[in-house]
Amino acid sequence: MKILVVDDERDVEDLFRQKFRKEIRNEGLELVFAFSGKEALEILETTNPPQVASVFSDINMPGMSGLEMLGIIKSRFPQLQVNMISAYGDTDNYTRAMSSGAKGFFTKPVDFESLRREIGEILRS
């Protein structure tokens, strides 16, 4: 089960790999990382439908923002689940994300317990 994580902060990769060490080792979770919206779209487009089961993306990134990327993903792959993660938990970002078709909305610093539950559901489905 492949999950794509998008964030312009590279240390996010280390953080996720360590947080989900058990899931990776024991439950067949595979994490893929992209450091910009553009890179994420390239990864998704290598196969159609994408090999990725779900996307977790930062909003605030240079170049294409997470919300822009969300719009593009939803127009190309309407079935793909996308969750947004933002340092700004304001209602503006939240409503924009949800009305553009995001599945969930997490604020930074990420509460990894709720994130683990979400990923657990994906793994079981």
Binding site: D11, L15, G63, S65
Partner: protein, 725 residues
């Protein structure tokens, strides 16, 4: 357009008046005679011995010299020079001063202003030696006129002022009025119409008092002209009717022509086209008869304008061309300009676009050169004005004081005789005069105080603005700073949580029986803990440097230059700027790219100051390529800001080059040199102080560096900072 054109026309005619005025002035001193008449009179004198030292002969020679200086200035010089020498040999000072003045006048007519002033000054020196100094005010007035032509308005106004004062002392009402007239003319040119009118009224009063009908007409004509320019054509009409009637009574072709021309302008402004036409035609035929070249050109163009208004293009075209030719032969730039402007409109309506363009080009050419020289003259005269009004007030003060002394003396002498009858009348008058003086003085003081206050306020505002600019750029930073601190803090939180999870895991592992323990897992966990601690440390430092940077930015500059890593500084502020804008505007979207030279040496800079420059450049760059309007118009452009650093220059003079580029609309070359000027901004009002780039420029200069702008409109804008190593 019409109004402006009219103003220029009137202005040009004013110069015409001035010349007429100046010439008349001397003619009036002696009865007007023809050159032939004077020549034959001189011949008669030359038959008797010793005629060279006869003052009557020398006076006649000067009269002839004056006429020649006007009619044929170039060839008059030889004759004038011989008169000067004759007067000198005869030790006839008054004649010599007069001859030198006429020589100056002739040089002035040939356009040799420098030589003209030299001769006037010599004449002035001699005239000052003669008891009574009767010639002095007139010479001063002439010097003032030359200075006026040269654009030295301060000097000119001072000369006129001196002329008025000396004329007062020598009871020379004609020269006094002439100098006041010249002051009025400068007010007129400055657009101070109320003041100009007031001065012309003063001249009118003087001429009425000394009963000089010609000059009274001139004054009416000038007053009406001002009123017309004040957009008061009805008032002007009343004034000019008086002047015109007086001119007809006087039967003077010169004044009839002048007043009918002004009347025609007034009727034209009132749209009484038939009356205007009749008057223009009168002016033209009189000018033709008497050889008034400039008035003829003026009225021909005025007549052409009337026909244009009536829609009679063929006639309009004919008169305009004739007027243009006349204006060209008289070398009158304003009239040439006006004629070309009118012609281009006529051609355009006739459908003759090639000719219309040709005329319009000529119009532009003359218009530009007139505007340039007018602007220069205006600046000069504004500077002069303060000086002049100061002196004028001083003079008023002095003359009041003088009156006071005279009054006191008289009062003292006759007080004993009439004190019972007159009582306090005189004293009251004196008191009034004295109070008026005091009020004037108080007024000046208040004005001075106001000026000083205004200056202080201006200085305070400047300081405030600089502070505001600093705070504005800090305000723009805050959101970026919050985001940039939030991210490392999140990592500190996450990695430290992970660390304690791992410590827990390690404890559980070590709680097992020794034979069940997985040694390699323990090693792995320990290694991860080490990595996490390093990450916590790294992100802690990252937040620390941002907070330090922010504090530094808001603190007053210590001005101390310290070796600084330019790459780190620039990179940090690029991110701050980006995140600041992103946080402020959710729809903001742009990308940035860096190309930093890893071998850059440290630079000795005031980091806080240079950071202000950088934040300014980054904010501007992002604003340029990512503002909503530009993006809407250019949906295909992906907004991109690029930062690069490089070491450039020779080994003995190495420089760090920092470039900040954006792919926004670019800066048109027309405003490229303005962007570093204070208060220049293209942002909507209230969105920029207009000080950012100007301060940036100053900061970079203060570091011995350079800030340069290069832009290709439609492609990119690049600001480059050069800093010495």
């Amino acid at each position: 357009m019409k109004g402006h054109r009219g103003f220029q026309m009137r202005l040009s005619r004013r110069v015409g008046f001035l010349a007429a005025f100046f010439n008349l002035l001397t003619v009036l001193v002696s009865p007007a005679q023809t050159a032939e008449g004077l020549t034959s009179e001189l011949r008669k004198f030359e038959n008797s011995p010793g005629f060279e030292s006869d003052t009557t002969y020398l006076n006649k020679a000067n009269e002839l010299g004056f006429l020649l200086a006007e009619s044929n200035p170039d060839s008059s010089l030889v004759f004038l020079n011989s008169t000067i020498l004759l007067c000198r040999e005869a030790s006839y000072k008054k004649g010599e001063a007069e001859a030198l003045k006429i020589y100056g006048n002739a040089l002035q007519n040939t356009g040799d202003f420098k030589g003209s002033i030299e001769h006037y000054n010599t004449a002035l020196a001699i005239a000052s030696e003669i008891p009574g100094e009767k010639q002095v005010p007139g010479i001063l007035n002439n010097i003032g006129l030359v200075n006026y032509y040269l654009g030295n308005h301060t000097q000119a106004l001072n000369n006129f002022y001196d002329a008025i004062k000396r004329a007062d002392l020598t009871n020379n009402a004609n020269v006094k009025a002439a100098a006041i007239n010249n002051v009025a003319m400068i007010y007129f040119e400055q657009g101070k119409l109320t003041e100009a009118k007031e001065k012309y009224r003063e001249t009118l009063a003087i001429y009425q008092a000394i009963n000089n009908p010609g000059r009274v007409i001139l004054a009416y004509n000038n007053i009406g002209d001002v009123e017309l320019r004040q957009n008061n054509p009805l008032e002007a009409l009343n004034t000019l009717k008086i002047g015109y009637r007086a001119a007809l009574e006087l039967k003077s072709p010169e004044f009839i022509e002048m007043t009918s021309r002004t009347l025609a302008d007034i009727y034209s402004a009132l749209d009484s086209l038939d009356k205007a036409e009749a008057l223009f035609r009168e002016s033209i035929s009189m000018s033709r008869e008497n050889g008034y070249g400039v008035p003829q050109a003026h009225s021909l163009i005025g007549l052409a304008d009337l026909y244009y208004k009536k829609g009679k293009l063929a006639e309009a075209s004919g008169f305009a061309k004739e007027g243009l030719q006349q204006a060209e032969s008289m070398a009158q730039p304003m009239l040439i300009r006006n004629a070309n402007e009118l012609l281009s409109r006529i051609y355009e309506e006739e459908g003759n676009f090639a000719e219309a363009l040709q005329s319009f080009k000529l119009f532009k050419l003359f218009n530009d050169s007139i505007n340039t020289s007018q602007a220069q003259r205006l600046t000069a005269s504004l500077e002069a004005e303060y000086e002049f009004s100061k002196r004028e007030l001083e003079y008023e003060k002095a003359s009041l004081r003088q009156k006071w002394i005279i009054f006191s003396t008289i009062a003292g002498l006759i007080a004993f005789l009439i004190i019972l009858f007159v009582g306090n009348q005189n004293k009251n008058r004196l008191n009034k005069a004295y109070h008026a003086l005091q009020e004037k003085t108080a007024e000046i003081e208040i004005k001075n105080e106001k000026l000083e206050k205004a200056l202080d306020q201006l200085k305070a505002t400047q300081v405030q603005l600089i502070h505001a600019e600093k705070m504005a750029s800090l305000g723009e930073l805050t959101a970026g700073i919050a985001h940039e601190i939030q991210n490392p803090l999140n990592f500190v939180t996450n990695f430290s949580e992970l660390g304690s999870d791992m410590v827990q895991e390690l404890r559980e592992e070590r709680a097992r029986k020794p034979e069940e323990q997985d040694q390699s897992l323990q090693d792995e966990i320990l290694a991860d803990i080490q990595v996490n601690l390093d990450k916590i440390n790294h992100h802690g430092k990252r937040a620390d440097s941002i907070v330090k940077g922010m504090l530094q930015h808001s603190r007053t500059s210590s001005g101390e230059k310290l070796p600084t890593d330019i790459n780190a500084l620039a990179n940090e502020y690029l991110r701050l700027s980006f995140h600041g804008l992103r946080a402020k505007d959710k729809t903001f979207s742009a990308d940035f790219h860096t190309d930093l030279d890893p071998n850059l040496p440290k630079a000795e800079i005031v980091a806080q100051d240079i950071s202000r420059v950088l934040i300014n450049l980054f904010n501007n760059a992002f604003y340029a390529c990512a503002n909503a309007e530009f993006r809407k118009e250019n949906p295909d452009v992906k907004p991109m800001v690029e930062l690069s650093t490089k070491l450039v220059g020779d080994t003995d003079r190495r420089q760090i080059q920092i470039t900040v580029s954006d792919n926004g609309p670019g800066i048109p070359s027309a405003i490229a040199d303005k962007v570093f000027q204070p208060f220049f901004t293209t942002k909507p009002s209230g969105q920029g102080t207009g000080l950012g780039l100007s301060l940036s420029y100053d900061i970079v200069k203060a570091h011995g560096g350079e800030l340069k702008l290069k832009s290709k409109p439609g492609e990119l804008t690049t600001f480059t900072i050069f800093l010495p190593v």
